[in-house]
Each structure stands twice: as structure tokens, then as C-alpha cells.
Assembly symmetry: D4
Homo-oligomer: 249 residues x 8
């Protein structure tokens, strides 16, 4: 249930097209709905600007499908992340209007009329970092932000990045996705004056320790103004970037 | 040299009140100035919106004082962080208009007429986290942001926080500073819809491992939209918050 | 062999319905029984209030089945944990009265007449933490405790928890199960005055490091009175909670 | 303000010996009191059974003294932990009825008439673990629990422990404090059927990594029913033990 | 080529039953034999008392088989460790007199007439630790030591161990194999006055971190006189124990 | 596009056999070529002496094949590392002149006339370290260096190494590849006066922690003049060795 | 109380030169003596071959002095380790016959007539490792073993070690002490066929992580038959070596 | 004793200006000289191109002075690293021709006539990294290499570096010294085609973990051809760079 939906309901009460009793019935499930294995937070949209998102790892297909159905009863959009192909099949079969974004591992339902705003630029150091960047891109777009991407511009070929500084300077907020040495956010943080969000990825081997090396690099970035997300957390980066992007309206 | 200073110089060249030769002399040092032990980045203000900041750890008093003097030749403000008391004495003796903020471990020079904008709310979980919060506050204020603070509102007494949600909702961006279990950003991230910056502190003992526990908690925050800084990095949090705050203008 | 069984035997000796020689025969295996690959501890029930439990990881089907049969010779209940589906099949085939609790990964035999006592409340932060909570629930119930559950009430939607504080206040002891940031025990520890047991789970990714992040959060909990278990150790939490619960009788 | 104090006030209102206006004045500070650097939680006693405790590390003498004075306005007891000698001097000078327990690093005020209840047994593996055990002992006694101690009974001389099992069996709850290999809780957990709380200490060198080795040992204890605290956290162990001990009343 | 073999050859030279030229031919390959992917160390038996052992992890079936054949040309015994079932099949097919010890993951050839000496006692904490103990047992026996075993005598049931102290006191050297909390070597080290070798195993979950917890426990053992091996290194423990055992002859 | 190629083009412009317009067309793609998922760095050969290399982990077969084709348009050689068998099949099918080096996990195209120079000696401690050594050998040879190898000469049989010191002394630069204890570079660094590059491998188990033990050993090598690469990074070692080798021309 | 002392007492009882009552008085304190802060283990000499040793870290001067005096009532020798200079002064003042070995940080009392047996060879890689080696040497000598030393023979100058192999071959057991890369035990383990005990030291910097690097190297030693002690644990190495040395009698 | 010295001696023997007996006397100490606490390696110069270097941490003033004197008997140059001011005083008093380089923490004796060769460029990211860079510079110069330096050119102001690429391209080998995020070697490795040696420093705080973050960044450098040294190991970097530099002669 998003804010529009809530306001609409209250106006229907005022105009008497909905009885107080029926409104109460609807509002009772507002804070959350207990389905045994989950307490669905219908109120999140009002509190945080976007409905509850389903993080699918560790959940069964039956659980995810049930939660998705409950959420769609009070909201017009849906976002499920970390969706493996077979769960995607189950989910899109249950909810035909949902779309599976394979590289981003996302299933989403998106209100068609939503116009996107602002400008988030998402940059990756390498080709292997693209899935995390795509998770961020789809998330930000479903939430309502415009996104531009610059892929594979890591510092091993610095001119690839310097050449495209103009795109960076157009951003309201920049998301930089990098694995291995995780060096790119430090360099970009030194080039732009916009809020920069760094996302380490688990790409690499040996002493990358599953993304730990990139994470530490980013936390110690000499360039100021860089906030860091968990390893591979494209979704979280998009949430933060979207909130920042909205401030520019 | 900030943007105003640069524009002024160029206009003086156009109006012929400054010769091309003299302007060149001034501009030659613009990108950086090599003083042997340091390459002072006078250009940073143009590129990033604020002059180079002196991080004092690992530098000698002579080095810091020399860098500060060079910076003040082309800039009207100064920010030196991680200043121990005896370095503060040396610095304020050399630069009489500089002020020492002891709890924040900062020495600053601030142009008096600067009016502060927007609203950054800085929250701490405990009393022991205040020095890091103060580093953030002074930094943000010197850069030109308004700051409100809520200290000692950790989750051991949750009502202290819930009671003051109103202050949180007024923020454009929230900085949450917490040591030990580092739990507060997760809770605040679930209450507000504003960009939230989490700063772990080294407060704690035993399995806090110098702030590592709080850092990991924050990186794994279940609430979305939380960006994380290095342990005790109040300065960096303020840089990022200030950049975000400016977007709201 | 539980205490009742032992007392009964001694009374039979006194009443001469069992000869001293036969009693000795039975008692000789009391401390433990050596079956080559295992020293089965029949005495544990007398010493610790519950018979030896079979932890199945790293054991073969043949070993687990043999130990289970030996244990049931001197005890009326059985608890085998970390049971994979194919081991469960072998075990329930060998011991028809045993039940497989799939989500909890437990195979148990339970004396039907046992009435449950007290009140243990088990809480999870998310849906993905339920398997660990179920391991705790079945364990506590087989041992003889009453259990109530509150699932998916993490701090991303704090009202879901605050709404149900009443259930928490009814508990004699609370078990809180949480992965990712592991924040929930800190919050609950600040709300209730009952002994609280925190169980980190391996749910999460990246810098959760297989549950390490949640573990450290819990060890550093600012709220006092929280004891911590190993990652995913629902069984151990139930043992401790059951012992505490019994004190309330 | 403890529950007795609160009840008394309300009865005074009913009996009209205190005006509603004055009662309100007192109750207004109940939830917490904002003194700038701290939000003092006067309500904690009602919510958690014991007033707010002052953790002194990272706080200045002025801060600790001010918080202590505020707390004593609404409570008859006081507990300040991790008190270094010079802070103890400042604190006992400011609050003459306060006592400094040097080995336990605690300053406390204790209502004289309080009778202690139940039985907590505190065990240490070595002589060097005594300071942490003393922190637990004083804390538990100030809160109102009876405490027995067994010091220096580590497994290098197992008979020292086996000899005194009787003391262990009298406990309602056992606290085991051990550094280096942290082995003692596993052994005691296998001997008794009472809730056991394990506290690793930072005693040791080399691969003890400041208590990490003992912490991991305890988290992996093969004996079930052992809850673990942060390294050196005698205070937290006492809080949990006291809560458990009260259940036995 | 063992010492006997070498002495025999030299005596044949002296007695002229082998020409100098032929002896040289044989001795030339003595130090090592280069087969491209391996430098086979035929001299090890003379230098260290036992021929080179083949550690099979990371080697191909072809490599292991080739090395084994080369070794058997100058030695009468063979020991290959960490042998997976399909490599065992290849190896026993190529070398028919070789035996596969499945639980120990060892393939060995053993001179029949060898009589075993001394007494090594191998103890495990749990049933799951047996494979590592078996690797130690087979290794020590192939090398020529007598071995006794005590399995599943962990401290959760301390009487199982205390009861069998007599076996421990008969040992010349004790190998203690334990996973999870790794507590057993500390306890045994306090009971016996014989050299004790501790082998942590990777048995456990969560904060056992693949055997790290047990390893640290053992390195910090309060009982003196305990030497520690790498995690799961039953082979290495047997080598050291065998060398110690020989000293008792 | 390598330097020869570039020089040739410029000479063709001078001799007018290529029009300025056509040359520009070719040079425009020089810095990099944007194919959406990758920014191919054609300029790298000029800047760094060897064309861009394709690191295949984390990339799809379609991506790798597309990048390889683009690279071969401006370069005569190709190097793709970390190639799994099925990707190798796809790649060699798409580029028939490419060769798959299975043990080295490399697919390469090599200009036939290239004569190799200098002398790089690659040493391994064990047979299991050979794949990493082979990755280094193929890489160095494709780049144009001569390579000699010494395999399986670890310190367990020190004479195998001492015997072959002569080969080491002929090297311009030595690459030492070792897993487990990673001891070999320290020993070789003490024997030769040539630049030595140490490559830890992930060979080992238990406390080798995936190569971390060997990595730390090498970083702490008491012998001076040893540079360390990431775990299993045979490719990087060859790049550095090749650059050093060229200095000796 | 050592075994001789005990036997003597029993013979005095048999010969009636000591009354049963007086013998009982003496024997009553045999198992341990409770002095409040310590349970002194007088029985250890009988059980483990040497009286209880005082590890001084974390104990006060008063505690150490009191324990030492109690121990000397039933034993003729004394060993206190990790003794700082001022504690040494207090201890030698209280017990005039005690000697302070400064480099070894040991205070000892040694029965003059004791003849030393066997042969333990202690080797160090560097000069900085000598204090740990000295702790081992004094400990072993007080216990009754003969010790030879080889200092500063690390692999950076391998000939220094190879030259003195003869000393190594004379040993019954070898202790190898090394910091930084911890390589020496691997090399020595490959040269000798005697039990080898490796002691990592905290010597080093950066990625030695306080001895962790050396510890991991030793645990992964490719040479078989090497047992590892905690970092800087010269005392423990001597205990184990002494027990092994005795087997050779 | 360097190679020249050795050749000279042999020629004196041939020309009979030195008797065989006297030459033997001198040569006998050649391999090493045993002074009890140290085995001085006079042969290192012949084997490795430079005499033994004294690493002073963990050694006493008396030990360092004695070793220095012994070394100067057979060598004309001396290098002592990690020299604290008071040890420097003792050393320069004992050896008047020695010089103390304070920032580099080095005491050296250098033959005046030595001409320096080649070109090593040493770069630092910040001012605080200069001491490590100075250790490298003095070491390389004493060994006979020419050194150029570029200090404080980190990526926060990338133009400072790009501007001075020319200096980088003149180098035979580049040493890059950086703390905090350790990003600079990745960037420089992408700009130059010369062997690059990365030295992480312990500069930083919080999640820099004493240089670990920078170390991991460098080990994972996406730019190929970068070899990594231990944290703060300016000396080792210089040894390797000097060896590489000599190849260019």
C-alpha cells in the first residue's frame, strides 16, 4: 500500500464511497500481515517510500510466491531480488505480469505510467561486475530513477574512464561497482563532486577473499565522500542512490 | 583556490586589471604545488567543491604547518583533521585565525560570512561515540551545511529514539555513529526514508575488534539505503552528507 | 537410562524382584557403552537431565542407526539433529516410531504422555531464519518445554515487533534467531527483563561471512543479559533455554 | 527510579500526600533525561529490573560523575563498570557513599537492607581470570543475587575441579570464566545440568589473539546448554545470570 | 631405497658380486629421479627413516601411478594419502599388492615380515573424528609402530575418558584427534606425562571455521607438553609419533 | 594493435599508401572500443608492451568470444586466461588458429615468427603447483620470453634443489611457485642474486586457508629481493618477469 | 611434592619414623591447596613428572610470591615464567635461593645435584628469536635435560645451517625457533629424522601479524614430523621436548 | 667480503704476496662467523651481490654494534635498518664513519667512490608514506642505484600524477609506496610498461587494519606486472628494484 493508495482510501471515507467499517478492515492489515512464516510489512511504502522488497535467498518458492501475492494486494509494484532461474519460473507463472531480469536476478512488476526522474550513473570496473550493476539498475528504475551506465572502465586502461568524465559530471549520484582490487571508486571519488556509492563485488580469486579486498579498499578510499555497501549489494546501492536522487528534485 | 577566486581572476584578466603574465603566474600553481614532501592540490576546490583537507596522522608539525600556509594562500577556509593537542598548539600559533575543536580533533579556518544550508542530523548510540560525531559536525559546518545532533539514543533504551523521530524526519540526510554492536543504523534505516550514512566507531572491547563488529553489522544492515564509512571516519561521513545535502537546494 | 529408570531398578533390587547380579549387568553399561566407533553415554540423562543427542554431521547412516538403537534400549526418547533427507529415510525405516521434522532437520522419538511446561518464546528476524528456529523449537518440545514463536519481526519493520511485545513479556526465556546484521537480540534485550539467548544464523551474503557478522553483533550487544550461541546452533539454544525454563517451575 | 519507587509515588498521589502536579514533575523525567552528551534512561529499572549502568570506557570523568549524580536522584543503587583508579577517585569524591572495588574495576552504591537471593556459582580456570570474575560477582551482588566462587580450577589439574563438583551442583546458574584455551566451560557443561554462562577472557598470548581463541572454543562447546558472552564481559554474564537466578524464586 | 637396501648394495660391491659400474648406475638415481612433473626423492628413506610418501590431492591419477611405480623400484613399502575412491581404483589396479584403506583414505604396500614396535595411543573426541584418526593409525602401522585406539571419549561425557586412563598411561606417545571445541588434548595433557600430539579436525559448523576454533584451542592448551598439527593432518601426527615412539626402543 | 602495427601504419601514411582518412578510421578505435559489456583497450599494447588479455572468470562464452574477435582485428596475438574446457571449445571453434593449453587453462594465438629472448626460470615446490607454473610459462612465452622449468624441488628434499642451482644461476629472473608452507622462495632468495617472484598457490588443506599461509610466508620472506603475487596468479608473475627479462636485452 | 618425596614419606610411615596422623596432615594438601586466588596443584609432579609451573602474566607480585612459597614447601625445584624485571626482584628477594634468567624471563630454583640427561638441540633462525629459545633452554635444563644451541642459522644463509648438520643429527629431539617467515622448521624437518618441535615467534612486522605468518608456515610444513607450539611458547616446547627426551633413556 | 675483495686475495696468493696459510685464515671465516648470538654471513656479498644487512628490531644495542664491527672487517659498506634514535647514537658512536638517516631509520657506511647506476623511481601516494620511501631510497643508493622520487601524488588528485608521467617512463623499475586504500600501484601499473614494485604502508586507521587493506588491494591489482612486498618493507623493495635495475646495465 503506497501513499497514494492510502490517501485515496481516506478520501473515499470522507466522500462516503467507502464505509468506515470497510476502511478499517483494509487499514487493519496495514502495518503488517502475519502469514506464519512471514510478517508482511504493507506499511513500508508509507514509511520508506517503496513497498517491502522480497530477498529470495533462503526462502522457498512457495514462501516467495505467497509473499509476492500478498504484497500485490496493496501495492502496484513488486521487486524480488536474488531470484534463481527456477524460482523465477515459479514466480512469473504465478504472477503473469511480472518480468524476470536474468542478469540482474530480479523479478519485478512495474506500474507502466511511472515516469523516471533525475540521473544515477552506474559504473563498473570490469565486464564481470555487470550482474551487480544490473541489479542496481533495475532496482533504481523500478523505484523511479533514471539510470545511465558506463561498463568496463577500470584503471588498467585509465583513458577509457577519463574520456567519459562528462557522463560522470552529469550524474546526481554515482554508483561504482568493482571487484578484485576495488580501486575505481577512489579514482572516481577524486574526479567528481557528487555523492559516490561504492559496491565491492565478489569477482576475483585468491587474496580477494570473496570481495573482502575490494571492500577494504573502498572503506579506506583516500577520496572523501564515498559511502560503501556490502559485497555484491547492488540492490542496497540503488536504494541509497534513489533516496539521494530524489533530493535533487 | 575556490571557484569564486578563479572566476574573479579570469574577469580581472578580461578587464585588464591583471596582466596575462601575472595571471599565468597564479594559475601555474593551480593544479598542485610541489613542496618536496607534498604535492598540494589547489585545484581540488574547483573539482570537488572544497579545498584539500589536511589529514594530520603520520605527518610532522613542520609538514602540517607548511601545507596549511600554502593552502591558505589560495583558499579562504582550512580544515585539518586528526590533530593532536601539541600539533594544534603549533598550528594555531602559526595561523592565529585558526580554531582548535578539541573533542573533534580539528583545526579550522572558516570564512565568517558563510551561511549554512540544508539539514544534516547526526545521531550517536552512546556518549563515547561523540568525538567521531563532532568530527563530522565541524567538518559539515565548515563546508557550509546546517547540523542537528541527537546523542546517546542507542537501542538499549529504544524509547529515547522513538520519542525523537520528528528530528530524524526533518533531516535531508542522517549520519548515524555507533560503536560496540553498531545496531543503531539498522533501526534508523527502518524508520526514515532519507539517505542514511553509518559510521562505526572503535568504541567497545573484546570481540568488537576495534570497530570491526560494528562495521560488519552496518554493512549487513537489513534496512536498505544505508551507506557505510570506515571506522571512526566522521570526516568522510560529513563529506558525503554535505554533497547529498547540497542536492536538496 | 533416565533417573526414573534408575530409581525403579534400585527399588526392584530392594524389593528383590531383580537379583543383584542382573542389576549389576544392567548398571555396568550405565556410564557408557563402547561400540567401537562410539562410546554411548547412557548416563547423560542422570547427569544432565536429557539422554545423549546424536549430532549426525560427519557420521555414516550405519553409525547413526546403530547409536540410535543402542540409546533407545535404555531411554524412551531420542533426538537426532542435522539429519539430511536420506539419513532421515534410513533412520525412520530402522526406527518406525521415529518422526522426521524436515525443516528442523531433526528425527525424534517422544514419549506420548509427556506434558510440556513453562514458556520459551522463539523469535526470528526473517523468514530465512526459520529452519534454525525450528531446530530450537522441536528440541525444546522433545525435552519438555512449551514454545511460542514469532517469525519475521526484524527491525526493518520495527512496529511488527513493538506490536507483539506482550508475547515477549509472557516468556520465561527468549530465544532470538537472526542472520545478516544480527540486530534483533540487541533490540529485544532492551525491551524485556527475561534471560535472552541470541542465535546468529548463516543467512546473508558478502560481508556476513557465513554468520560471523551476526555473531559479532550479538557478542557486542549493548543490551545486557544476552547469551550467545554458535552460528545456526538452534539445538544448543534450546538446551540452554530448557534448563532456564525448568528453574521457573 | 525502580519499581518500588514508582509504586510508592503513585500511592502517595492516591493518598494525596503528593500533588498531581508534583508527581507529574517527577514522572516527566522518567523515560530519559537529556543532558546533552547523554540521554539518561531512568525508566530502565521498570523495564529491565535494574537501573541504567554506567560503562565508563570512552567517557570523561566529568561525564561519568554527572550521569551518576542524575541517576542517584531517582534510584537508590548505582553501578559503574570499567572504572580506572583516577576516575574512581573522582567518583567516590563526588559521591561519598560509593565504594570502589578495585580488582573488579567497579564503583557501586548499594541499598544496605537488600537481602540477596538464590545461588550463582562463578568459576575461573586460572588466577589471572579473577578480575573478570570479580566484575561478575560485584555486579550480581549489587543486583541482589547470592554468589559463590571457585577460583583457579582449570583442567591442567582436573582433580581440583572434580573434587568440588558439589558446589557446582548447588548452583542455580554457573558462570565459567577462562582465558587461553577456554576449555573449562566445555568440561563443566558436561558435569552439571544447570544453565551455564561462559566468559572468555583476554588472558593469554600469541595465538590467543586477545581472547579470540577462548571465545571460539566456548562457541563450539561440545557440551550443550552453554551461552557465551563477549571477551572479558563479566558484567554481562552477571546480568544474564541474575535474570536466570530470579526465575528460581 | 632404504638403509638396508643401500648397505646390501655396498657389500655386494665389496664382495664383487656387483660391478662398480652397475652399482654406480643404481646409485645415480639415489638422490632423486626427475620424471618431469616430479623429482622423486629415493634418498628420503636414508635421511628420514621412511620412503617418500605420495600426497595425492592436486595430482592426477597418471602422475600418482607413475610416482608410485618409481618408488616401488627402490623401496619395499609404499604410502599414498588423501586417496579418493577412483584414484584408489586406478592405483590398486596398477599395483595389485597395494591395499586401499577407505576410511583412512590411504593406499599402502607393506612388507609382510615387519614387526611393529612400541605403543602409540590414538584418541578421538567424537565419532566424526575417526577418519583422521584412521589416517594416523594406518600411517603409523605402515611405518612400524604399534597403535591402540580410544574413540568417542570427548569431555561431554568425561567419565568415558577417566575410566580408560589406564590405556593412556601405557602409551609412549598419545595422539588426540578432536574437532568442534578441540578441548580433549587440554584435558588429556593434564592427565598424562607422555608426549601428546593434538590434531584439530574440520568437524563442526559455524564458528568452528573449518577447524580453526579447534586449532586455536590446542595451540593455547593450558596443559604443557602438547604439540599441534595442521587441521585434519592425521598423517603428520603419525610421522611425529612414530619418530618419538622409536626413541623408546 | 602493437607498436609495430602502429609504426607501419604511420609509415604508410607518410608514403601515402594509406590515406589520412583511412588511417584516422583505424586510429579512432585505438584507445578503446565500446561493445556495451566491455571497453576493449586496443591501446594497451602501445602503452604496456602487450595487448589486452582476457581474464575469463565471470564472463560468458559469448562475451569472451566477442572480445577475442575484436582484439584480433588490431593485434596478431591473443591471450585468454582461466579458460574452462567448455569455454575453450567455444573459443577455439570461433577462432580456429587459437590453441588451448589445458593444464595452464589458457587459450592463445601466437605469431609464428616471434623469436623468444632472455631466460626466465620457473620453479615449483611440488607436482600439484604445476598448473600455476604452466599458466606463467605459456604467458611468458606468448609475450616473447624464453622459459626453463624446475618442477617438484621443494625443501622436504633439499638436495633436489641444491643439485640444480646451476639452472637458477642462469636465470635473468626466477619465478617460484609453491603452496602449503610456501617456503621455497625464502630458500631460493637466499641462494641467487637475481630478481625473484614468489607465487603462492592454493594447494594445501586446513590451516593453509586456500593459500593464505603460503602468501604470508612469502610476504615475510627473510631473504631480501622477493616480490609476491596474488595466490595462483601465474599470469601476473609472468607479466612482471617478462618486463624484467626485457631489461636484460 | 615429587615422586621421591612421596615415596620417602610412605617409607617413613612404614618404618614408623612418621606417625600416620602427621603423614595424613602432609598428604591432605597433596592434591591441591586452596589459597583463595589459586588452587595450588601439589600433585602435578606425581602426575606429570614436574611440579606446577607459575605463569606470571596477569598475576600480581603478591600472588606469585605466595604461590612460589607454597610450592617450595613440597617441592625442591621451582619454575616461574614470563617474569618481568620488577616481579623478578620481588621474587628473588622473597626466595633468596632463586635465580633470575633475564633474557629467558624465568626465575628458577634448581636442586644442585640433579644431573642432566639426553640431548635437546635448540635452533633459532635469527638473533631476535633468542629470548624464546632461552626460555626453552632454561626450562628444559631445570627439568633435567641436556641442551645444545645453534643460534642465527636461518635460510637466508643456508650454508650456516648445512655446515652444522652434525649437531642436529646428535639430537634426540630438535626445537626450532623462528619468526618472520617461519621457514626454518620445514628445512630442518627435511634434513633430520628426529622429532622436531617448531616454535613461531612474534618477531617481524607488517604481514607477520604478531607471529601468525610464522605459525601458519609451520602448521603447513611440507616436511613431515613437525609439531607446532603457540607463538613465543618456548616453555611449552621445552616441556614436550623433555618428555620426548626422557623416552630415549 | 665482496667479490672484488675475494678476487684480490686469490691473486695475492698466486703472486705469493700472501701466504697460503694467511689466506686460509681469512677464508675460514668467509662462510659465516659464529659470535654466539649471531652467525655473521660474510659470504652473502659473493652469493647475493651485497653484504649481510642488519635488521635491528628485536636486537640489543650491544648485539647490533658487535655485528656491525664484524661485518666491517670484511666489507667496505654497511647497512643497518629499523634503527631507533638511541640505537643510532650507540652505533654512530661505535663506528664514527657511519651516518644516521633519521626519516629512513637507517645507519649506513658507504664507500665514497661508488658511482650510482640506472634509474629507480620511487613514488608515494601521500606525505605520510615518505619514511618507507626513504628507507627504500637510502637502501637502493647504498647498494649503488640511482633514485628519483615523486612524493604525494595519490589518486585523490589524479592530475598530480598524470602531469608527471614522464618521470615514470624514464624509470627502469618503479617502486610505489601507498597506505590507506593502496590504490596507486594499480593506476601506475596501468600507465607504464616497467616492472612495478608495490609497498603497502601501515598508514591509515580503522579498517586499514595496520596496512592489510593496502596489501590486499595491491595483491589484487587489476594491472598486471605488479609485485608486492610486506607492509612497510621499503628495504625489501629496494633490494628487488636494485637487482632489476642492474639487469638494465
Amino acid at each position: 500500500m503506497d501513499t497514494n493508495h492510502l490517501q485515496q482510501l481516506l478520501e473515499q471515507v470522507r466522500s462516503k464511497s467507502v464505509s468506515v467499517h470497510d476502511a478499517l478492515q483494509q487499514l487493519r492489515t496495514l502495518p503488517y500481515e502475519d502469514v506464519g512464516f512471514a510478517s508482511i510489512d504493507h506499511h513500508r511504502s508509507v514509511r520508506q517510500g517503496f513497498p517491502e522488497v522480497i530477498f529470495c535467498e533462503g526462502k522457498t518458492k512457495a514462501q516467495v510466491t505467497a509473499i509476492a501475492r500478498k504484497l500485490l494486494k496493496t501495492s502496484r509494484s513488486l521487486l524480488a531480488t536474488r531470484v534463481q532461474p527456477d524460482m523465477a519460473r515459479a514466480l512469473t507463472r504465478a504472477i503473469p505480469k511480472a518480468t524476470y531480469h536474468k542478469e540482474a536476478r530480479i523479478v519485478s512488476v512495474q506500474p507502466s505510467q511511472k515516469s523516471r526522474r533525475g540521473n544515477i550513473v552506474i559504473v563498473t570496473a570490469g565486464t564481470s561486475d555487470i550482474p551487480v550493476a544490473e541489479e542496481a539498475r533495475i532496482t533504481a528504475e523500478v523505484m523511479g530513477s533514471c539510470v545511465q551506465t558506463l561498463f568496463d572502465v577500470g584503471v588498467a586502461g585509465l583513458h577509457r574512464l577519463l574520456d567519459r568524465q562528462k557522463v560522470l559530471h552529469q550524474a546526481r549520484v554515482v554508483i561504482v561497482v568493482a571487484g578484485m582490487d576495488g580501486v575505481l571508486p577512489s579514482v572516481i571519488g577524486g574526479l567528481v563532486d557528487r555523492p559516490t556509492i561504492a559496491v565491492p563485488t565478489s569477482q576475483g580469486y585468491g587474496a580477494s577473499f570473496g570481495g573482502l579486498a575490494a571492500l577494504l579498499t573502498m572503506l579506506n578510499a583516500c577520496s572523501s565522500g564515498v559511502g560503501v555497501m556490502n559485497i555484491d549489494n547492488g540492490f542496497g546501492a540503488a536504494c541509497l542512490a534513489h533516496r539521494i536522487n530524489l533530493l535533487g528534485e
